[in-house]
Amino acid sequence: MSKEVVILGIETSCDETAVAIVKDGKKILSNVVSSQIESHKRFGGVVPEIASRHHVEQITYVLEEAMEQAAISWREIDGIAVTEGPGLVGALLVGVNAAKALAFSKHKPLIGVHHIAGHIYANRLQEEFKFPLLALIVSGGHTELVIMKAHGEYEVIGETRDDAAGEAYDKVARLLHLPYPGGPEIDKLAKQGEETIAFPRAWLEPDSYDFSFSGLKSSVTNTIHNAKQRGESLKPEDIAASFQASVIDVLTTKTVRAAKEYHVKQVIVAGGVAANKGLRSSLQQEFANLQIPLQIPPLSLCTDNAAMIAAAGTIAFEQGRRSGLDLNARASMLLK
């Protein structure tokens, strides 16, 4: 085989400024993430302009730390991978322009990477893929089911028609007056409660792998409102548990059905909501019964990071995909 491929990845699509260096798409040499969660907490969500301001202040610090931790010379780096979309356009622009400046200054190839491809490839940092594979991507911005028959080939078989799962979590957390980000808070609360309320499950058409969470969110709002009008008080723990049960039921059922239909050899879960303990245990149980290997990355690789971008960029690099210096940031972008 030819020499090892070393890729530097940059990710700035939301509120993390991240740079990582990865060898052969599998071995992390460094993975630096500068999170802005504290800056956005008081606004109850990510403010795009503030996120973009942070990125431009952080980017060279994070680059420097990633280079130092990897203890590597520029000569050994084969390419620069960067998230080109989807995401917050102002935030993406900082990473994209930094990547272009690096590629130009250091005479390295530039590789634009789809953010979701990154989330999927986070799993390859743990274990080699077995095709065909099914990926469930659940985060604040995405809920998708993707089939991969080979490296770098993505077929989206299902996606959300309205809110992303993580978005629904954040909205329900707000209804329950839980701090931002709401996902982990609901997960925690749900464990102390019971499914006492039968919230709806949006199955959509029988053969559909799409998702919809806005109806569920409305149902939670109405339930709380009606109880209040009747002067009753519902236990927040039970609301959390009931809401979470609905989300997990839909996610698990559709993932299992897709895994069977496509005869996949591996199922991987990616995105911030992959850290949800309830979702993890539900999927683990189902796929253990089916004897299909299930892979969920550790928390640090579930949430946004640049190692995943470098990992996905490695495959694109090996397949000869290159971006020009006119690479732009794209707020929305198809995975293909």
């Binding site: 008081r42 606004f43 403010v47 302009e49 503030i50 973009s52 301001r53 990125h55 431009v56 202040e57 980017i59 060279t60 610090y61 680059l63 420097e64 102002g90 622009l93 900082v94 990473g95 994209v96 322009n97 930094a98 272009k100 400046a101 690096l102 130009f104 200054s105 250091k106 005479h107 020009g324 210096l325 006119d326 690479l327 732009n328 940031a329």
Partner: protein, 231 residues
């Protein structure tokens, strides 16, 4: 000494390369097009044109705003990362200062501004003395009306420089009257070579800490501060 200059802080996209005291080349466009797509190709093209490699650069200068928040960040992300990667200094200069510099032969007050919508402008006041720009009124985000009333009370002629001059020309003349001097179109367009000239006496600070000159808080932050007064 090879210096690369870039400006994407407003509609104009400008790139210049200076060697010692000679401007080797400039690319300037004044088009409502995407800076992110065009900045790096413009730098690449000009570097090829003057036959220079990135490693031969000794310094980078960049217009750090005010202007379009996104435009300013495209320039700074590019300039900072290039400077860091090449291990050379980077200097950020105020876009208003560069514009003021373009009025350096004017004997009076120089008032550069950029339109900031809803009757507001990013503006400052300068004068050119002893071969140097002196700041007379600090740069800020100000109501054009207030600024003009203030300038009217000064018994001096005032040079107005702005790529957005047409938006405010009527108001300027109606308030400041014949003491307002408004030059022809090309003087209002920032030339990247002047970004280099404006940076000449300035020392580079740390690349990491170079920040845009927004002159305005992010809207969410301003609102938050407004509703959390006193805590």
């Amino acid at each position: 000494m090879n210096i690369l200059a870039m400006d994407t802080s407003n509609q104009v996209l400008g790139v210049a390369i200076q060697q010692d005291d000679t401007i080797l080349g400039e690319i300037v466009t004044n088009l409502p097009k995407n800076h992110s797509v065009r900045l790096m190709p413009a730098i690449d093209k000009l570097m090829q044109e003057v036959n220079m490699k990135p490693e031969q650069l000794d310094k980078i200068v960049v217009a750090k705003g005010p202007g379009s928040y996104t435009g300013v960040r495209i320039g700074l992300a590019t300039a900072k990362t290039m400077a860091w990667a090449l291990n050379i200094p980077v200097i950020g200069v105020s876009s208003l200062e560069v514009l003021a510099y373009q009025g350096r032969f004017f004997n009076g007050i120089i008032c550069p501004f950029f339109d900031a919508r809803r009757g507001l402008a990013f503006a400052g006041c300068y004068r050119f003395e002893n071969n140097q720009l002196q700041i007379l009124r600090k740069e800020e985000n100000v109501a054009m009306q207030d600024l003009l009333e203030e300038l009217k009370s000064l018994e001096r002629s005032i040079l107005f420089l702005s790529p957005d001059i047409s938006i405010h020309q009527e108001q300027i003349i109606s308030i400041v009257g014949n003491r307002a001097v408004i030059p022809e179109e090309p003087v209002h367009v920032i030339r990247p070579a002047h970004v280099i000239a404006t940076a000449k006496e300035k020392q580079a600070g740390s690349t990491h800490t170079l920040r845009p000159n927004y002159l305005r808080l992010a809207e969410a932050e301003a609102k938050w501060l407004e509703s959390n007064k006193g805590c």
